[in-house]
Symmetry: C2
Subunit: 283 residues, 2 copies
C-alpha cells in the first residue's frame, strides 16, 4: 500500500509538527495515532498505551522547543478503559498538561486512539529538520536502545526493567533549552539512522555519524540494532561547533556538504537493503 | 459500557470544543473521530467519509463563531484511500482550510479516522452552551431532517438526493455572524431535542419548544423523527428577544426559568423512555 504522502491532498501530512502563527505567538500542533495490533499488543496494559500516546505527542512538541498547552484525545471505548484513563491521568499530571477536550466513540474490532497536542513555541524561528549546515556538529540528547531492551524484556518476560519502552519520557525542558541553539532538531521516534537520514535529506546535506560516539549512549553490544530501533524519543540536533549547549548531549557526528549518500557511518554508507528504522508510514 | 465522562481524568472530554487563550487570541480546537461500522458503513464512498469528517469538525468551530485556521488528520491506511483523499481535498478546498499535518498509520480490522480542527474566535466571549437566559428566544439556523432523508435515500436506494447526509455543510459564516448576539450556541449534531436539552441543562434553564415552528424547517410529515435525528449541523442559539440577527433563523421556542423538566415541547415534557437523539457517547 502506498503512502498517503505521495498524494497532493496529503501534502504536509508527513512533515514535522505543524507551526501556526496566531496573535504573535507560534503555536506548535501535532497529532499521533496508536492502533491495537500495530502500535501495541492486545495484551498491553492500557495505562502504558495511554502514557505512550501522551509521551509521543509531547516529544514532537519537545523537538520544536515548545511548551505544552494541552491535549485533545480521540478515544475508542473498549476493554481496559479504567487503566487507560489511569495512565492518561498519570502522564498528564507528570508532564503538567491539561486535557482540553476530544471525542469518545464506540468502535468494532481493534481499537485506535488519537492525541492532538498543542504547544507554544518558546523560541523563534521554531526549529525544524531542514536547517542543518555543513560544518555543524550533530548532537544527541538522550540515549537510544533503551526502549528496545524494554520491549525485549516484556516480550521475553525476563523481568528486566521495561519502563523505557512502556513509559517513555519526552525531553520537554531539554527541547526548550536547546531550541535557541539548534539549527535543526527532531525527535528520534523511528530509529536514529532513519531519522538522521531524514534530517540530512531535508537539510540538503550529508550526515557523517561516528559509531564509537553512538556506542557511548547505547547498549554497546547491541549497537547495530539500537541505531535502528525507535521509541526512545531522544532529540537529534545540529548546532554550530562552538555552540555552548545548556544541557548534556553527546556529539555523534558532523554535517557535511551533500555527497553521494545522505548518511555515512564511520565514513561509509549504511548497507543497501537493510532498514534504517521503523517505516511506519507504509505498510 | 459506561461513558468516559464519568472519570475524573476525562473531565472536559464531553464538552464543547476547547477554547485556549494564546497571545491575545482565543483559539478554538475540536477533535472528532469516525469509525467504520459506527459512523459509516463499510460500503460507503470514502470521499463522503472524508468530507463528513472535515464538516463535523468545522461545524464545531462554526458553533463558536470561529474562523477555521487548519486541520490535522489522523488516518488509518486502507481500501479507498484515493477516494478518501479526493473527498478530503474537496472539503478543504470548499471551505478554504489548509491541511496542517497529522499522522498516517497502518491498522488491522475496521478503520478509524480522527480530525483536529483549529480556529480563531472572531468574537469574545466565545459562545458556549451555558449562557441561555430566561426570556431569551431560541433560534435555529438551518434545517433539520434533511440528513435523515438523505440517509434513507441511500439505505433504500431510492435515487433521491442524499447530499445532505453525505456532504453536510458547516454553517461557518453564519456562526461568525451570530456569535456576537448569541447568549448560547451549539451545533445540532446529535438531534435537536437532545442538543436543546443539553443546552437547557448547561444553562440551568428550561427550553420550551414549539413544534409548529420546528415543522417549518423540517419535513413536516416526519417531524417527530427529524427532531431526534442528528447529522444536520444546524446551529441552535439563544438570543435576546430584541436581537436583530444578521442571518436568517427560525424562532423555535423560548428560554424559561428552570422548571421540573429541562425540555418542553408544546408545553409538555417529551415522553419518558423515547430517545431524544443519538447518544454516541455511550455504547
Amino acid at each position: 500500500m502506498r503512502s498517503l504522502a505521495s498524494h497532493p491532498a496529503a501534502r504536509g501530512l508527513e512533515d514535522d509538527a505543524a507551526v501556526l502563527e496566531v496573535g504573535g505567538e507560534a503555536l506548535v500542533i501535532t497529532h499521533d495515532m496508536m492502533a491495537e495490533g500495530t502500535h501495541y499488543l492486545p495484551n498491553a496494559d492500557m495505562a502504558d498505551v495511554a502514557w505512550k500516546l501522551v509521551a509521543v505527542n509531547l516529544s514532537d512538541l519537545a523537538a520544536k522547543g515548545a511548551e505544552p498547552l494541552g491535549v485533545l484525545l480521540g478515544h475508542m471505548l473498549g476493554e481496559g478503559d479504567d487503566r487507560f484513563l489511569a495512565g492518561l491521568r498519570e502522564a498528564l499530571h507528570e508532564f503538567d498538561v491539561p486535557l482540553l477536550g476530544g471525542d469518545t466513540i464506540a468502535g468494532t474490532g481493534p481499537r485506535a486512539f488519537g492525541l492532538t497536542a498543542i504547544g507554544r513555541a518558546t523560541h523563534s524561528p521554531v526549529p525544524d529538520r531542514r536547517g542543518a549546515k555543513p560544518g555543524d556538529v550533530i548532537h544527541l540528547c538522550g540515549r537510544i536502545g533503551e526502549a528496545m531492551l524494554g520491549f525485549e524484556a516484556m516480550r521475553d518476560s525476563t523481568g528486566a526493567d521495561s519502563a523505557a519502552y512502556r513509559r517513555p519520557r519526552p525531553l520537554i525542558e531539554e527541547g526548550q533549552a536547546l531550541a535557541p541553539l539548534a539549527h535543526a532538531m527532531m525527535d528520534v521516534s523511528d530509529g536514529l539512522l532513519l531519522d538522521a537520514q531524514r534530517m540530512a535529506i531535508a537539510s540538503g546535506s550529508t550526515f557523517a555519524l561516528d559509531s564509537t560516539a553512538i556506542a557511548a549512549i547505547a547498549p554497546p553490544e547491541r549497537l547495530d540494532d539500537a541505531m535502528r530501533w525507535g521509541d526512545d524519543y531522544a532529540l537529534l540536533l545540529a548546532a554550530a561547533p562552538d555552540a555552548a549547549l545548556p544541557v548534556a548531549t553527546r556529539v555523534i557526528g558532523q554535517v557535511m556538504p551533500r555527497g553521494d549518500h545522505p548518511l555515512l557511518i564511520d565514513g561509509i554508507p549504511p548497507p543497501v537493503g537493510a532498514p534504517l528504522g521503523y517505516e511506519h508510514r507504509n505498510s
